[in-house]
Symmetry: C4
Subunit: 259 residues, 4 copies
């Protein structure tokens, strides 16, 4: 049975030795900047998957992989046990965000629960900030749930511009900051400015560089372009196929009413 | 964890010394007349915030303030301890109403619960009544959940016109009257006639003047025009930015399905 | 507090002396045929209101009456204690049906609960069957949840035509038949053929005449035309006003997101 | 009372003597391929209905049969007790899939519960894969929740093509594979390639032939064409009528708000 929000540890929580980890969120969103950075971290660092999250708020479907096996929509949390100067990390990645409004709240409650279980004192949510035109020199726009954190982030080159982002921060990246605030956890959003029209590795690089400075972390950026290209190709392909499938499924909607 | 409707007292309820307060609602709505009046009261009177209400029925996002910190959608209740002839007040203000139909009912249930907790015997909901053209001399249209209250309000110049408002009263301003009726609490809606096209300080002034007479309350009207202008500017700006953000987010919807 | 489906007896159930009543449903629907017939019965017969049903599945608004007082969306059940040959009746009328899909199921569950509480053995649901063109000689189309009932109704002139209504019976009128079937209660739908373009007193008359024969009931038809005209006028007026209000409310939607 | 998902055994579960059955799903979907195959199996084999499933997630309506009686939307499970070489079967058929996203998850949870109750070790979900053009030689595309199953199915001529179906598998056919995977049950989807424009008996035949080989089952294919034609006729007729009914119901929506 799959619960509305279904948290499954893939490792015994007691065997996870990370301490006071920083929680990093990189789910799909504008320009896939956040997802690109978080996926990159998971692959470049020596991480271990510790949690899978399934939910009725994800789309009711499965994806088919190249080898003919399927995967069901999920979010995943990876743990990184630092061997150097950087803090330990929990990295939240996934295929989807909630497709319902209420679902966002239920999922963010769950993320916060897990962060608290591991004694997380700080959260970074990663995303893109689309400005609708090409960006030559991407930079990182910030927002935080505490004044001191704003000041701290400015020292790392994060920009805070009056009235930006004007429309607020929608989805998990935003809500996590809000709910964390109510729970007394520091949290900030790092948004790479991007056109919003495509997967943007330059914007991701800007976010990653800031994040590395903040976390005192060393990660190779080499694979980032490659990864973005793959993601772009996959998206184009999937979009095309998805549209045709969706259209058929929609066309079939009357027929679903057929007895 | 944020509950579906999450009531958080910012003051120990036992330390709140108001007696038999009148409950006033001024959430966003047509012409923002109600919000303008209620926000004005909160600022002009010596009020204290006593409750914050969060909810899964508000939009799943946070807003970013000018200093780079965020705020999460919420409603707030302020208490006013009268020092003069007027009754004590509870004033409900907020950024949002429910974005789902069912959410309106759950939130109104909560407002009524709080009103009852403080022994409220009368509720006024404030709003605008849009007529789709400019209004030279705005007046206040009324509706009440009790015949006697209709008669009483007429004496303060509130108009009751047959068949108006024909479409009923939608959202919290309306439902509060209905649920209060079932709970035996007197309630009336005071609706400033307005074009409905912009934030309308003239209409708000009309509502405020009636309300002051009813409540035997003195409040300076000076800042009202200024406040309306600020609100108008903010709305214009936010609307523009919001639309672009929304469009991007919508454009990204297929991508959210990307694994 | 208003529950999701909130049943309130206006009379002590133990004081209601009806026996094995027939349950009649006449909520708003195609051509308002069912509503017209049921409202007519409630007014022409010596009925007593025994139950009010409120619900989160009705629209979140109140209606304003001509005297300035409001009413909140509800369904009502009236009891008719027969003094003649006819059986006792429970008549379900109301302003609205559920505005959500799931709500229909929850409300119908409630109607069936109440019917069972009073030992109802038979249900008639009243409605219109729209054919998209003017109907000179309206007749009554039937559907039932039991073969024997089909045969019985044929004797009263109710038509059963293969493949009609092809689209099934949508909403409370249909679901009541289905859920009653699972509960072992006989139930049939009587649908007056109508254009579907307006409130149709001729179609209502056809349904009423059949119903009177079935129930051995005498009711004056005189007021039916008058009632339909009033209903038509009200609908036209409300529709116009509602559209303008709705448009404004919709136009305000961005603003609801304004903090 | 009808529960959100309401499972009703029509036979005492203890009297059902099947052993380790294969679970087969054939609900409405693209080209109605899955429904056609599953309905065919139910009729050609000596099956017994053992379960009816009702749900708030099905459309709130009833269908009217040719004899004037109604049926309420439901899914059904039939048991087949093998007399030959083949395994025992549980066959899931029905009029509808969930009309809400969340409903798909709740219903699939229920299907899996029932499969587990009977000790099912393997599930096949049947469907169509629409390619938007006529298919001369339909074949069967597969997807499975386990690598070994992919290999096994290839031996029966099931095709696994990289990137197909690109859009994933939507609805019960897909989710069943995903939830089964989490429960440790082998499951595969067999999708007949089809245009997607009509009920496709050729595609159904392709699926049925593969399924018969896998299950070591003998079923006459004779009636398949006939059955598809009937289904096609019914769909055309229902679609036409449904559209007109729907339009009327939609047109009535304002009126539903009429008091």
């Amino acid at each position: 049975m799959l619960k509305r929000v279904d948290v499954r540890y893939t490792v015994n929580p007691e065997d996870i030795s990370i301490k006071n980890p920083i929680f990093i969120e990189g789910l799909p969103g504008i320009g896939h900047v956040g997802k690109l950075v978080a996926d990159h971290l998971v692959k470049e660092l020596k991480t271990e998957k510790i949690v899978e999250i399934y939910s009725h708020h994800f789309p009711p479907q499965v994806m088919v992989k190249d080898d003919g096996t399927i995967s069901i929509p999920k979010n995943e949390i990876y743990a990184y046990k630092s061997e150097g100067e950087s803090p330990d990390l929990l990295i939240l990645v996934g295929d989807f965000q909630s497709i319902s409004n209420e679902g966002h709240f239920e999922l963010v409650n769950t993320y916060i629960d897990i962060a608290k279980k591991f004694n997380t004192k700080r959260i970074f949510t990663l995303g893109g900030y689309g400005i609708g035109k090409l960006v030559e020199e991407p930079y990182v726009l910030g927002a935080a749930n505490k004044k001191e954190l704003v000041e701290e982030l400015k020292q790392y080159g994060v920009k805070f511009e009056e009235g930006e982002p004007g429309g607020g921060i929608i989805g998990a990246s935003g809500l996590l900051l809000g709910v964390a605030m109510l729970e007394g956890i520091d949290a900030a959003s790092l948004m790479g400015v991007t056109s919003g029209y495509m997967v943007d590795p330059k914007s991701a690089k800007a976010v990653l560089e800031v994040l590395m400075k903040i976390l005192k972390l060393e990660v190779s950026l080499e694979a980032l372009n490659e990864r973005a290209k793959e993601m772009e190709k996959l998206i184009a392909q999937i979009k095309e196929l998805q549209e045709s499938t969706m259209q058929q499924w929609k066309g079939e909607e009357d027929l679903r009413y057929f007895r």
